[in-house]
Symmetry: C2
Subunit: 86 residues, 2 copies
């Protein structure tokens, strides 16, 4: 599954465009976010992406889950979102 | 639809229990969160609630949307999550 990484500084509109394009191509996308700010931007982006998909007759659903990554030898925990076209 | 309100200080495990119970009773629940911290707690709670529902053979999907509220004459924007058992 294609993975998008979202940061606190990510623009939700740009992320929404990437989500919409990936769903159109692959039907689903996984999004990784570490930290409350990044999670917030991700949720906004998914809400915006629903607006991009609605005219195509598609809705999006997301399934959140926990994520454990090792970045530069440090354990980081975050959230991942599996977003699917429906 | 029953509405749960989540704050930054909410305990994700407690919210997850409330989500699971409401889904068992009503099949769906709406969650309101204002601010990045509250959105983060909500996403964690939904991820935990999936673990509560899995042994019952149910999965949860969530649909995020924007939320506009007037609280004490001030406009506040936040996120709402519509969570459904699947």
């Amino acid at each position: 599954m294609k993975v998008l990484k979202v940061a606190t500084a990510s623009n939700p509109n740009s992320v929404a465009g990437a989500i919409a394009n990936t769903i159109k191509d692959y039907g689903e996308v996984e999004i990784h976010a570490i930290g409350a700010g990044a999670v917030n931007q991700t949720v906004k982006a998914i809400a915006i992406a629903r607006g991009f998909m609605a005219p195509l007759g598609m809705d999006l659903t997301c399934v959140p889950a926990f994520l454990n990554l090792v970045i530069e030898d440090l354990n980081r925990s975050g959230m991942k979102f599996i977003v699917r076209g429906a």
